[in-house]
Symmetry: C2
Subunit: 232 residues, 2 copies
DNA sequence: TAAACACCTAGCCAAATGGCTAGGTGGGCG
DNA sequence: CGCCCACCTAGCCATTTGGCTAGGTGTTTA
């Protein structure tokens, strides 16, 4: 079952279905102290859950999950300078620790990232700026129950995306990202070619492919979209 | 006095200097519930301060300050779709309510925004992702005391910036921002000209000026910088 | 093994861009 | 009153770009 949390769909979330004594054990991964404290407060006070571990780096997430085996991992994919690594982390956790459900709590809302995260094993995706206090606890409970949760705004975004393009799961390759990052620095194709030791043609090739994947037609737009997706 | 919070300079913050009974009254403006709860927890539990009001929109900030007259306003400049409005808000608060000190707590760290905020009356600038739990309370106390506080990373950034370019306070005009936002959408100069009802020459003119101010040489770089500064 | 994929290269051409000079207007401020 | 500033326009020209077609390699995977 997939739960959308747009509008007033909150009423359909069945509360008290689970054994009331089984405290949900949560782990929080976010580089931001304020956010960690906030999540802890909300979860422990209002939902009777226990935050058993925290992490601020990609490495610490693995260690924490391994050591504490939480029921749910709330994670911000951006734990360093590379969101892509957060996605890989999702995959690894989902793979090695199937008992731990993953709820992504992101700063930015990008269709591409959402789809990628879900594809790689995340059980839910919510946006920090959109989520209401009570929704957080409900979201955690839902993913623990095995549901897929899409927070406010996320659901409609994905639905819209799925309708428009067939694949959508088209993610940028490493090389394409290299080129995009260079473009963001204001380099010309020639300069980029020189920087990454390939011909100018190759740079253009990667850029063309990236354009199609991001549905952009100008390098400025590519940079904008990549930036909005937290990719650079 | 300006306090930098890089490295281990925390030891030089004089604690207990103020009357121990005068509880600091704080107002928090941030669209993100988690952040609001987090700040409240940190401040009330560890520093004995009181969060007397919260706000999630630009309008509500003014109302809250007017009604509660907090000692310190902790604000995220990005309360909507336009960070520029947050800057104007700073100016207005500093102007009309000099009794309320302003501590900006930003998501992103951009030299331009920092300088602009301070120029318009903010008393401190900290970055959410960099700040440590204890620094938040100390920062609030410091701005209340009339000091200017620059959080970890912010101080060095500004110092570096001040040394490099003479002016730096060069901020983008409204029109330049219009054009940059259009560029980010992937429009050509011709399309932009049509969209904002000016000639193509004018679009190029604004872009050239923006290039100089942002020290960029290609539109992709302009978009990147503006994006990093939270301007689009 | 064949397909799929990331990656690399070449050339073509119209269109867009960057970098400049050289003008114009109206509003605000010392 | 000048002066600065945001804003608007024009033209020039070398360079860059977008979009295309048409190849090539090596690795992974069904």
């Amino acid at each position: 079952m997939v739960r959308f949390m747009d509008k007033d769909s909150r009423s359909d979330v069945p509360l008290g279905r689970r054994s009331p004594m089984a405290t949900t054990r949560v782990m929080v991964a976010d580089r931001n102290v304020i956010t960690r404290v906030g999540i802890r407060s909300i979860l422990e006070r209002n939902s009777g859950m226990a935050v058993v571990a925290e992490a601020t780096t990609y490495e610490a997430v693995i260690d924490g999950v391994d050591e504490h085996g939480p029921d749910v991992l709330i994670i911000d994919l951006d734990l360093g300078d590379d969101t892509t690594r957060g996605l890989k982390l999702c995959e690894e956790i989902a793979d090695r620790y199937p008992g731990t459900k993953i709820l992504v709590l992101a700063n930015t809302l990008s269709e591409m990232i959402v789809v990628e995260a879900l594809r790689r094993g995340a059980n839910g995706y919510m946006c920090k700026d959109e989520v209401k206090a009570d929704e957080l606890g409900k979201g955690v409970k839902a993913v623990q129950d095995g549901d897929t949760v899409l927070g406010r705004g996320v659901g409609s975004l994905v639905a819209r995306g799925l309708g428009s393009t067939r694949g959508v799961h088209e993610h940028l390759t490493d090389r394409e990202l290299d080129v995009i990052r260079a473009v963001a620095k204001g380099l010309s194709n020639k300069q980029i070619a020189h920087e990454i030791y390939v011909s100018e043609s190759t740079v253009k090739f990667h850029l063309q492919n990236a354009s199609k994947k991001l549905n952009a037609h100008r390098r400025a737009e590519i940079v904008h979209r990549a930036s909005a997706a937290g990719l650079l």
